[in-house]
C-alpha cells in the first residue's frame, strides 16, 4: 500500500528558464537589428524596411493556447472564457452544458510595442494567473524573417481556502509555471500554422513510499510525477471568409511520468471577428483553461469521448 505524501521543489528553475528564453529572443532580435544597421552604413541609400506580415492570427487566443500575436501598443483586452462539462454525461447534463463549468476572466494590456502583460482569475481552484508575452521576431513580407516567434510565460497561483494547511503547508506549494515558445508562419492569405513547445513546472507533486529502502533502512520517497513536464502544441487557422476562421489545435505531452500521465488534447473551433470583438466556439478536451494545469493534469481522453464545448470571447480597446 502506498503512503502518499507531497514533494517540494522550490528551486528557482522555472524563473531561470524564463529569463534564458527571454535572453535568447532578445539576442535574436539584436542580431537582426544589427544586420539592418550594417546594411545602412554600407549603402548610402536607405534600405527598404522589411514589413511584418499582419494578421497571422486574429486574436491572442487560439482555442486552448496563446497565439503568436501581441496586439498593438496601448491595447487593452478583456477575456471571457467558458469550458462546460464533458458531453459524455448525455442528456442528464445536457451534454455538459449544465455541469462542471469552468470560467476564466482575464485582462491584458500592451504597455510597449510587442510586450503584453496580463492578469486573470479562473474558477477552478480560484486560480490567479499573471503572464507576459513578448513578440521577439515577426515574419516579414519579404521573407527575410520566415517565421514569427513569441515567448509566453505564465505563473499560476491556487488560492482556494486551506484553513488547516493540509493542502498546502507552504505558500510556494500553490505555484505552477508555464513557459512556451510560439513559432508561427502565415502562408498566403488563408492559412497559418503554429508550433509551440512548452515547459510546465509544478512546485509540489504527490509522493509515495513504495517499499524501497536505503542502505541504512530508511524508506525511499518516490514521486508519482516529475516536477517538469514538456509538451508541444500544433495549431492552425484556415480562413473561411472575411470574418470567419476555422481553428484547429493539438497538444501532445512529451514527458513520461510514473503515473497519471496527462492525455493529449484535440480541439477544433470557429472564430468570428470584428474590430473589437472575437468569438471562438470550440470542442476539445482541455477543461482547466490555465495552461500549466491543462498540460500537466488533463485527464479527459478524446478516445473515450470526453469532449467538451467551450468558448472564448474577447473585447479589445485601443488607446
Amino acid at each position: 500500500m502506498k503512503a502518499h505524501t507531497t514533494l517540494y521543489n522550490r528551486s528557482p528553475k522555472a524563473a531561470l528558464v524564463l529569463f534564458c528564453l527571454l535572453g535568447c529572443l532578445n539576442f535574436l532580435n539584436a542580431q537582426d537589428s544589427t544586420g539592418v544597421k550594417e546594411a545602412a552604413t554600407e549603402a548610402p541609400a536607405a534600405p527598404k524596411k522589411s514589413k511584418p506580415v499582419p494578421n497571422t492570427f486574429e486574436n491572442i487566443w487560439l482555442l486552448d493556447n496563446q497565439s503568436v500575436m501581441v496586439p498593438t501598443k496601448g491595447s487593452f483586452q478583456l477575456d471571457f472564457m467558458h469550458r462546460f462539462g464533458t458531453i459524455d454525461g448525455g442528456y442528464q447534463s445536457l451534454f455538459g452544458l449544465f455541469g462542471g463549468i469552468n470560467i476564466r476572466i482575464g485582462a491584458d494590456y500592451v504597455p510597449r510595442e510587442d510586450l503584453m502583460v496580463g492578469l486573470s482569475l479562473t474558477e477552478y481552484n480560484l486560480t490567479w494567473e499573471g503572464y507576459v508575452k513578448y513578440a521577439g521576431l515577426k515574419q516579414t513580407k519579404d521573407d527575410k524573417i520566415p517565421v514569427s516567434v513569441t515567448y509566453y510565460g505564465n505563473m499560476a497561483v491556487d488560492t482556494r481556502s486551506d484553513p488547516t494547511g493540509g493542502l498546502y503547508p507552504h505558500g510556494s506549494d500553490r505555484l505552477m509555471f508555464f513557459n512556451q515558445i510560439i513559432i508561427a508562419r502565415k502562408f498566403g492569405d488563408r492559412f497559418s500554422i503554429q508550433v509551440a513547445p512548452s515547459l510546465t513546472h509544478v512546485n509540489v507533486v504527490q509522493g509515495y513510499y513504495g517499499g524501497d529502502t536505503t542502505a541504512d533502512g530508511k524508506s525511499v520517497l518516490g514521486k508519482e510525477m516529475k516536477h517538469d513536464h514538456f509538451a508541444i502544441a500544433f495549431s492552425g487557422k484556415v480562413k473561411l471568409n472575411n470574418t470567419l476562421n476555422l481553428l484547429l489545435n493539438y497538444d501532445q505531452p512529451i514527458t513520461k511520468h510514473l503515473t497519471n500521465n496527462p492525455n493529449p488534447n484535440l480541439s477544433a473551433g470557429l472564430e468570428i471577428n470584428t474590430t473589437g470583438h472575437t468569438f471562438q466556439v470550440l470542442v476539445g478536451n482541455y477543461r482547466y483553461i490555465t495552461p500549466s494545469r491543462n498540460n500537466y493534469y488533463n485527464n479527459n481522453d478524446y478516445k473515450d469521448g470526453q469532449w467538451l464545448i467551450g468558448f472564448n470571447m474577447t473585447r479589445l480597446w485601443n488607446w
Binding site: 514589413k51 499582419p54 498593438t72 492569405d189 471568409n241 472575411n242 470584428t274 474590430t275 485601443n318
Partner: protein, 136 residues
C-alpha cells in the same frame, strides 16, 4: 369632444415631428485634411491581392457602420451621431487616396482612429483601394 381629440392628436404630431428633427442624424461637418497628407501617394498598387486585403479588412473593421457596399447602411449606423455617408458618391470618391488614408488612420468623433487597430499601413492603403471599387 371631437375638437379636444383633434387638439390632442395635433399636439402629439407636433411633438413627434419636433423630436424627430431634434434627434435626427447630423450631417457631416467639414473634415479638413492637412495638405501634405492629402498629397500622399498610395504606395500599394490596386491589384487583386490588394483589393482582397482591403475587402477582408472592410468586412472586419468597417462594414458594421458603413455597410457592405459603403452606402452608410451598416447595422450600427443607426446608433451613430453622424451619418457615415455614401462612399459610392462623388463626395468620397472625389477625395485623394491620401485624404482617405488620413481619415481612416486618424478618425474623428464616431469614427475610430484605425492606426491604433490596424498595425499594417499597407492594409489601410488596401482599404483605400477597396473603397475605390464602390464608385458608381
Amino acid at each position: 369632444m371631437k375638437t379636444k381629440t383633434l387638439s390632442v392628436l395635433l399636439l402629439m404630431t407636433t411633438f413627434i415631428v419636433v423630436v424627430s428633427f431634434t434627434f435626427s442624424k447630423q450631417q457631416p461637418k467639414p473634415w479638413n485634411v492637412p495638405e501634405k497628407n492629402a498629397k500622399m501617394a498610395n504606395p500599394i498598387k490596386s491589384d487583386a491581392a490588394s483589393i482582397n486585403t482591403g475587402k477582408a479588412s472592410w468586412a472586419k473593421n468597417c462594414a458594421s457602420c458603413h455597410g457592405k457596399m459603403g452606402k452608410g447602411d451598416g447595422s450600427k449606423a443607426a446608433k451613430l451621431t453622424t451619418h457615415p455617408g455614401d462612399f459610392s458618391a462623388a463626395a468620397t470618391q472625389g477625395q485623394s487616396d491620401g485624404a482617405l488614408y488620413y481619415k481612416i488612420s486618424e478618425g474623428r468623433d464616431d469614427m475610430p482612429a484605425f492606426k491604433k487597430k490596424i498595425s499594417d499601413e499597407d492594409e489601410i492603403w488596401s482599404l483605400v483601394n477597396y473603397i475605390r471599387t464602390f464608385k458608381k
